[in-house]
C-alpha cells in the first residue's frame, strides 16, 4: 500500500501524530511476558506494535469496530503507516497501560495515536501512531467511508473531545 520509494520531502507520521485533532480514546492494561524481552530483560522494540494493537482492539470492542465487525462488512483495515518513539525501557513483568486515541478524520482512514506508561506512573515510556485504510478483501482501496463506518461516525459525533 505504501510506495516503495517514499518521497523524502513528505511530512512524517511522527509530526502528524502531534496534531491536536478531536479524538476518542480507550485504555487497556498489558503485563509484559517473558517471551517479549531480550537477553538484557528489556522489551524488544518490535513488540510495541503488538501493545499498540492490543489497545486498538480494546478501542474496537468499546466502540463497535472490532475485527469481527470489519469481517462482517467484507472490509479489511491494513496498517499502512506506523510510527513509534521510544522514551524509556520497559522490563519483564511490568504492568503497562496503553491508551489508543482515534483522531477525527474527514478522509476514509483510521488514525490512532498511542501512549504507553507503567501503571500508576505518569512517565511516558513510548508513544506512537498508526494509519489504517479500508480495502476490499482483494486489496482494492476504498476511497470513501464504508456505510457501516458512517453510522459509527454519526453515533460518535457527541463523543469527540
Amino acid at each position: 500500500m505504501k510506495d516503495a520509494s517514499p518521497n523524502p520531502k513528505r511530512t512524517t507520521l511522527g509530526q502528524l501524530s502531534e496534531t491536536a485533532l478531536p479524538c476518542l480514546e480507550e485504555t487497556t492494561a498489558i503485563r509484559v511476558r517473558f517471551s517479549e524481552v531480550d537477553a538484557l530483560g528489556f522489551v524488544w522494540h518490535g513488540h510495541y506494535a503488538n501493545y499498540f494493537e492490543e489497545a486498538r482492539r480494546a478501542f474496537g470492542r468499546q466502540y463497535g469496530i472490532d475485527y469481527a465487525t470489519f469481517m462482517d462488512h467484507a472490509v479489511a483495515v491494513p496498517v499502512v503507516q506506523l510510527h513509534i518513539d521510544f522514551f524509556a525501557p520497559v522490563r519483564m513483568s511490568d504492568l503497562l497501560t496503553v491508551t489508543a486515541r482515534l483522531r477525527k478524520s474527514e478522509s476514509a482512514k483510521l488514525t490512532f495515536a498511542y501512549e504507553l506508561r507503567r501503571q500508576a506512573e505518569p512517565a511516558l515510556l513510548a508513544a506512537g501512531s498508526t494509519v489504517q485504510v479500508f480495502t476490499t478483501f482483494s486489496g482494492e482501496l476504498l476511497l470513501t467511508w464504508p456505510p457501516f463506518m458512517l453510522e459509527r461516525l454519526k453515533a460518535w459525533e457527541p463523543l469527540w473531545h
Partner: protein, 100 residues
C-alpha cells in the same frame, strides 16, 4: 489555455497544502505521475486526502476506484476532470448496464 494553466496551479497549491508536501507547488510537473514508481511519491493515504480535498474545494466526488485511477494520474488529469465536472459531465462514462 490560460484558464487551464491557472487551474493546474491551483491544483498544485491545493495538493501541497492538503497533503502537507514539503515542496513548492512549482516543483510539481503537470504530467508527473502522482502514484507509483518515478512519481511524486503519493501513497494511499494521500489519495484519500486528495479525494476529500477535491470534493471540498471543487465539488468533484470520486467514489469508485475506476474513476480514481482515471482522475488521480497527474495534475493534468485532475484538471481535465475538473473541467468536465464544471461542464456538467461525469469524469468517467457510466458502466454499460447503468440505467439511462
Amino acid at each position: 489555455m490560460d484558464d487551464i494553466h491557472t487551474l493546474k496551479q491551483e491544483i498544485k497549491r491545493m495538493m501541497v497544502e492538503n497533503l502537507m508536501l514539503q515542496m513548492d507547488a512549482a516543483e510539481i510537473n503537470d504530467d508527473q505521475p502522482l502514484l507509483g514508481p518515478g512519481s511524486l511519491g503519493l501513497d494511499s493515504v494521500d489519495a484519500l486526502q486528495l479525494v476529500v480535498a477535491l470534493d471540498k474545494e471543487y465539488g468533484l466526488k470520486i467514489a469508485s476506484p475506476e474513476v480514481a485511477r482515471e482522475v488521480l494520474q497527474s495534475v493534468a488529469t485532475i484538471a481535465q476532470a475538473l473541467i468536465q465536472h464544471r461542464a456538467g459531465a461525469s469524469p468517467c462514462p457510466p458502466p454499460p448496464h447503468a440505467p439511462a
